[in-house]
């Protein structure tokens, strides 16, 4: 008996391992035994060797760095433009009404649909990729920031006003902190969209980066490289998601702690 959480963790881990083995690894190995060609499913040991080879080679790391640089810059642009606009539109109803038709109609033109136009405008220049990433993140950042500002407790604003705060002070001391949690949630969702949009742009129109790496590997029928590349893309996406979730947890705790005061 004794430690319940640890037992539960052990139990969950064993079930998880069984699940991964039963749903993914076992069918994979069976398919290989049954004679599926390596082009379709490479044998599992080959995947392990490919991981080692790729990390040792001069191919993977530069691709990762290029993709990370692109997504970080594009995402930063989306945040720097989206958050201020969201704050303005959330606070001033007039401005929101003026922009709403534009926001609503562009929201339905998915980022991927911009890829051909971005190629026409920018060729394979970096600006095209940055534009796609920015577009994928911008609307999500704006809409979540607006929701954050709208969700501010009106009583808080009234209380601040009663205590003599001006509009500027209210904005900085009341609205900004209260809008923070929803905005951070928006940033997490927007980053995921930026990352997917970047991979799509690199699949279609790039000569470098992770998306290009797996597309190029496909050209040479290196399925093992494609699969390892997919895993790297997943790990990077999951890592960013995890970091944003940590920030979110902290921001939300800060808010609820403040709420208790």
């Amino acid at each position: 008996m004794g430690s319940g959480p640890r037992r539960r963790f052990l139990h969950a881990s064993i079930l998880g391992l069984i699940g991964v083995a039963a749903v993914l690894l076992f069918p994979w190995q069976v398919a290989v035994w049954l004679g599926v060609r390596p082009v379709v499913l490479p044998p599992l040991p080959l995947i392990g060797r490919t991981v080692v080879d790729l990390f040792a080679s001069e191919v993977l790391l530069p691709a990762v760095l290029v993709s990370l640089a692109r997504v970080n810059v594009g995402f930063a642009l989306a945040v720097l433009t989206g958050v201020p606009l969201g704050l303005v539109l959330g606070r001033w109803r007039r401005a929101y009404q003026a922009c709403e038709p534009l926001l609503e109609s562009f929201r339905f033109v998915i980022p991927f649909a911009w890829i051909p136009l971005a190629i026409l405008w920018f060729g394979t220049h970096e600006a095209g990729k940055l534009f796609i990433i920015w577009y994928a993140g911008f609307f999500l950042v704006v809409l979540h920031t607006i929701a954050g500002v709208r969700g501010v407790d009106p009583d808080l604003v009234k209380a601040a006003r009663t205590l003599g705060a001006g509009e500027g002070t209210i904005f900085i001391k009341v609205v900004l902190p209260a809008a923070l949690p929803a905005t951070v949630t928006g940033l997490r969702i927007a980053f995921a969209a930026c990352w997917i949009a970047l991979i799509a742009a690199e699949l279609v129109a790039a000569r470098s980066g992770l998306g290009y790496l797996i597309m190029d590997a496909r050209e040479f029928l290196q399925t093992n490289v494609v699969i390892v590349g997919m895993a790297v893309i997943a790990v990077i996406g999951a890592t960013y998601n995890w970091v944003f979730q940590r920030v979110e947890a902290r921001v939300f705790r800060y808010r609820s702690a403040e709420g208790r005061l």
Partner: protein, 228 residues
């Protein structure tokens, strides 16, 4: 003056030239063919994802063992962005319908599954207890309590997945297809027809909007009580 206007029109086509390009494609019937091809693939991948995602999500919702076993593989596969499956899809299925439908399936299946699971887990424990006290068996419990409670989650997943399916089809067609609306705008880009590129983007936006509206209307008609 003339130089600058030529440059401008080659990069940013005028609205009449966009409409002209669209009208041309509409008149020959090519545009409709592309849109129909894209819609067919979306529906194929979408329905397959619903057929897998809803039952598996419900199973994981009612059975802790199933949840324990399936959570790990789902969490392992989910972060692989669906777009990254495109090269593998081409290796598996070649260029064409199967590849596009497969990627669409991947886009949708996790959205449907996880929202269904969330819905199934949100079942009110008191409701379950009350039903059990009144003598409901497992089957009745599932049919009369679990599924109705999970319905808003299922519908949310299906609606989000519908938008995802459309986006997934568009981007996959740019890479792994010889027809469809995604192929059309990609081809228009290669052959330098900016008017048709923007026209195609408009159509993509309109169809996406229409799909979302159609889903909401259907939901309202068929299941007016199931809104979240």
């Amino acid at each position: 003056m003339s130089v600058s206007s030529t440059v401008a029109s080659s990069v940013i086509p005028s609205p009449p030239s966009v409409l002209g390009a669209l009208a041309g494609q509409l008149a020959t019937g090519v545009l409709v063919e592309h849109v129909v091809a894209s819609l067919g693939r979306s529906v194929l991948g979408y329905l397959a994802a619903a057929a897998v995602g809803v039952p598996v999500g419900l199973l994981m919702g009612v059975s802790p063992t199933a949840r324990g076993v399936l959570a790990a593989p789902v969490e392992l596969l989910r972060p692989v962005s669906s777009i990254a499956w495109i090269p593998l899809a081409i290796l598996w299925f070649g260029i064409g319908v199967s590849s596009v439908a497969f990627v669409t399936f991947i886009v949708c299946v996790f959205l449907v599954l996880l929202n269904t699971l969330a819905g199934a887990l949100s079942v009110d424990g008191d409701l379950l207890k009350a039903a059990r006290t009144l003598g409901a068996g497992r089957r009745v419990l599932f049919q009369k309590v679990v599924v109705p409670s999970a319905l808003p989650g299922i519908l949310l997943g299906l609606r989000v997945a519908l938008a995802g399916a459309w986006g997934g089809v568009v981007v996959t067609e740019m890479i792994a297809s010889q027809n469809g609306i995604g192929y059309m705008i990609h081809h228009a880009q290669i052959t330098f027809q900016p008017g048709l590129v923007i026209g195609g983007m408009l159509v993509i936006g309109l169809v996406g909007y229409g799909l979302n509206r159609a889903f909401l209307v259907l939901e309202q008609r068929l299941l007016p009580y199931a809104r979240a």
